[in-house]
């Protein structure tokens, strides 16, 4: 056998090499083809995430409160940098924070994130440098309004919600992020690939709030001025539409401390006298009193259960209406003894105190309302004056809205509607009554009492020249940490209904720890309410029904009264008086049901004069006593002597009882007489 030549060996070697190459190629292409193709695709293409634009938040008129904009975060990967000095120079040219860049590079970390977010044009020049990584980030753009920020909340640097509506409604606002296939160039930078695919992101829904931006601005500005000028520790203003439960403005201000969330929803306070109208409503509802009923108010000083209850406005006796009008602590405690502890508790519980209202704001406080079994000896009286109970400003406004709308406690809401990205309404808030807390008749009567508070009571500084304002002031002592109630530390508040005869707003103004000579709610919170209302009236869009307002003007009401009475009206609106008279009379005529648990009623002293000693104030210094308006002597012929005395006292007259042949009064029923006039009541012979 012939030995292979050298050439043949070389040929064989090349042949084997060729066969192995072909075999290897066949293995790569045929056997492992799919696997390698996938690996190649992975290296060349990658799936990038497309962040969904977060939904906008609008006010009730469609003005943007919060929107998103795309910014860029810059990061440096030092190992990838070929020329650090060049990158540094480019970063400086791009106006990035040079100090931060230097500091970061000096530390020689592998991955450095430059603090802050930059616009795409700022960083366009550095986008192609090796080692510079740009990441698009959605940034929320908020206005300067602190109040709006407290309502809508905020996001952290990574776009995660921290508080406010951003947190509560995150699932709606967030949207669904998309994905996109991108190609890499030779430097590893992403390029849109013509062969790629894209899953478009779905933008978050648009949330429309019930907040009226104009009114919100007004409230924030006036609150800020009030807090500054009174050197208060803070304050809150809440405005609500009493017919729908829509929250129109939520302004909060705290000096020298950081607060999270909206304090009108998160910080309860002892409301003081602003709770008295609800006690009066409960008395009327349970038929334990009538507006004209009179109690002995002990000249403004009452010793009860080991403590002394005092009044700012001293009076010997007051009717229920005047107890509200002059905010008598002694009077409300005397009247309140006619209610059982359970009735008091249920009154406040039904008004929504002691439980969260369910507005979509995180950390909403429930307030404090203890059950009667947890009450101390003094709670039964304290709670009537608005102590030993804590409510949030929003709870208080919601409760007053029940008075304004005829007795229904409405669910307050902050979100008007939610729209999908296509503009379709996916949710629309509806007015929902939680429960009826008082009859329409009682609500009207309380409303009339509140009108009197502003017309000639403790809150005259809230009054407007052309519109009626109803409301109630409150001045509650505040506690200090570990020190109990401290002198000179008050919460001044006022809750107003505007217009008083057909409310479109319920406004609460609360000021914490005002400093200075004036600290009463009627002196400092009522004027803030007045200026908020004036500014709202002057504003183009402040959620007011102008047609309704035109009908509520005092001059219009007077015209209506003239037309209906056929007489000339005086400066005081007659319709308001007539309505007040009707409601009061209706309740006075209603069956009176004194129960066994009713406390003994203080009999009016025959010699007691019926006037109220008001403290000196700029407006009242000239005329310290109440305006004396003649009023008709009521017809009491069909009443028992006791009831007749009460009715006459309720109407403001002094009474002397004499025996005669026929029952009646002297002067006769219907005669106009000034309050305080001595009326002779004749008792028939037995």
């Amino acid at each position: 056998m012939k030995a292979p030549t050298r050439v043949a060996v070389i040929h064989a070697f090349f042949l084997l090499f060729a066969i192995s190459l072909v075999a290897r190629a066949a293995k790569v292409q045929v056997v492992e083809g799919k696997q390698w193709a996938a690996r190649g695709k992975r290296q060349h293409f990658f799936a990038g995430s497309l962040s969904a634009p977060r939904g906008e938040i609008l006010d009730a008129s469609g003005n943007t409160l919060v929107e998103s904009r795309e910014m860029t975060r810059v990061a440096l990967a030092l190992p990838e940098m070929r020329d650090t000095a060049l990158v540094l120079k480019a970063l400086r040219r791009a106006r990035l924070d040079a100090a931060a860049v230097h500091a970061a590079i000096d530390r020689r970390r592998r991955w450095i994130e430059i603090p802050g977010l930059y616009s795409a044009s700022d960083v366009a020049s550095i986008s192609k440098l090796n080692g510079v990584h740009l990441t698009p980030v959605l940034q929320r753009v908020y206005g300067n309004s602190d109040g709006i920020k407290r309502i809508v909340g905020s996001l952290d640097g990574r776009g995660n919600p921290l508080d406010g509506l951003e947190l509560a409604l995150d699932s709606l606002l967030r949207g669904d992020s998309g994905r996109v296939s991108l190609a890499r160039d030779n430097n590893g930078r992403a390029l849109d690939s013509p062969d790629g695919w894209t899953e478009q992101p779905k933008a978050g829904s648009t949330v429309v709030l019930t907040i009226n931006n104009t009114l919100q601005d007004i409230c924030e500005r006036e609150l800020s001025i009030a807090v500054d000028s009174l050197k208060a520790e803070g304050g809150d203003i809440v405005v609500m539409n009493p017919h729908t439960g829509e929250i129109l403005a939520l302004a909060s201000n705290r000096v020298g401390r950081t607060t999270f969330g909206n304090t009108a929803v998160t910080e309860p306070f002892e409301p003081g006298s602003t709770l008295k109208p609800f006690v009066a409503a409960s008395l009327l509802e349970h038929k334990r009193a009538r507006p004209s009923d009179i109690v002995n108010t002990h000249n403004g000083k009452l010793e009860l259960d080991g403590r002394i209850i005092t009044d700012m406005h001293k009076a010997a006796q007051l009717s229920l209406s005047d107890v509200i009008r002059f905010s008598s602590n002694v009077g409300i405690v005397e009247f309140g003894q006619r209610l059982t502890p359970r009735q008091k508790y249920e009154t406040f519980r039904d008004l929504g105190f002691g439980m969260a209202l369910g507005v979509p704001l995180p950390a909403e406080a429930a307030g404090t309302l203890r059950e009667p079994r947890q009450w101390s000896r003094q709670t039964a009286a304290s709670i009537l004056m608005g102590y030993e109970i804590a409510v949030t400003p929003l709870q208080l406004v919601t409760a007053y809205a029940a008075i304004a709308n005829g007795g229904e406690l409405l669910e307050p809401h902050l979100v008007k509607e939610v729209r999908s990205v296509e503009g379709k309404v996916v949710y629309r808030a509806e007015t929902r009554a939680i429960r009826r807390v008082m009859s329409g008749e009682v609500a009207r009567t309380i409303q009339q009492m509140l009108l009197a508070v502003v017309q000639e009571g403790t809150a005259t500084k809230a009054d407007l020249a052309t519109f009626e304002v109803a409301g109630k002031s409150g001045t509650a002592r505040r506690t200090s940490q570990n020190a109990g109630y401290t002198a000179g530390n008050y919460t001044a508040s006022f809750v107003g209904l505007f217009p008083g005869n057909d409310p479109q707003y319920v406004v609460l103004v609360k000021l914490d720890s005002p400093k200075g000579a004036h600290y009463a709610g009627g002196d400092i919170a009522a004027p803030v309410t007045q200026i908020v209302l004036r500014a709202a009236l002057a504003a183009r869009d402040a959620a007011l029904d102008r047609e309704g307002l035109a009908a509520s003007e005092k001059s219009t009401l007077a015209d209506v009264a003239r037309a209906s009475n056929g007489t000339r009206s005086t400066a005081t609106p007659k319709v308001a008086q007539r309505v007040r008279g009707d409601a009061t009379d209706a309740l006075d005529r209603a069956a009176y049901d004194p129960s066994d648990n009713m406390a003994p009623r203080a009999e009016p002293e025959e010699t007691a004069s019926y006037f109220v000693d008001l403290p000196a104030s700029p407006k009242l210094a000239v005329a310290p006593r109440l305006p004396v308006t003649p009023r008709p002597i009521p017809d009491v012929r069909r009443l028992s002597v006791r009831e007749a005395v009460r009715a006459l006292h309720g109407a403001g007259f002094r009474v002397r009882v004499v025996t005669a042949a026929s029952p009646g009064t002297l002067p006769a029923a219907g005669t106009m007489a000034a309050p305080g006039t001595l009326v002779q009541l004749t008792r028939p012979l037995e």
Binding site: N144, A535, L537
Partner: protein, 91 residues
């Protein structure tokens, strides 16, 4: 010679096709970069719009405008007496 010519033509065609593919891809990548740049510009402008609108909102807010109007122009919030609500005309 015919065979060599044929091979030459085929090779030339191959080179042309390859060149056209490379050229097309180069154009595609260029367009893609241009698109990315334009998209960046769009994002930038949108971002600027949002910022400017926010600034306009802040500047026209009562907090800013009201203070300036009172301090510089001596304006004030009208009293309710000075506000006249005109009834809507009936037809």
């Amino acid at each position: 010679m015919r065979g060599r010519t044929l091979v030459g033509v085929v090779l030339a065609a191959f080179v042309l096709v390859a060149l056209s593919i490379v050229w097309r891809r180069t154009i595609g990548i260029g367009q893609s970069e241009r698109l990315a740049q334009l998209d960046g510009n769009r994002v930038d402008l949108e971002s600027e719009r949002a910022r400017l609108e926010a600034e306009i909102r802040d500047a026209s807010a009562r907090q800013t405008l009201g203070t300036s109007a009172e301090r510089r122009l001596g304006m004030h919030i009208p009293s309710d007496k000075q506000v006249v609500i005109l009834p809507r005309a009936t037809r």
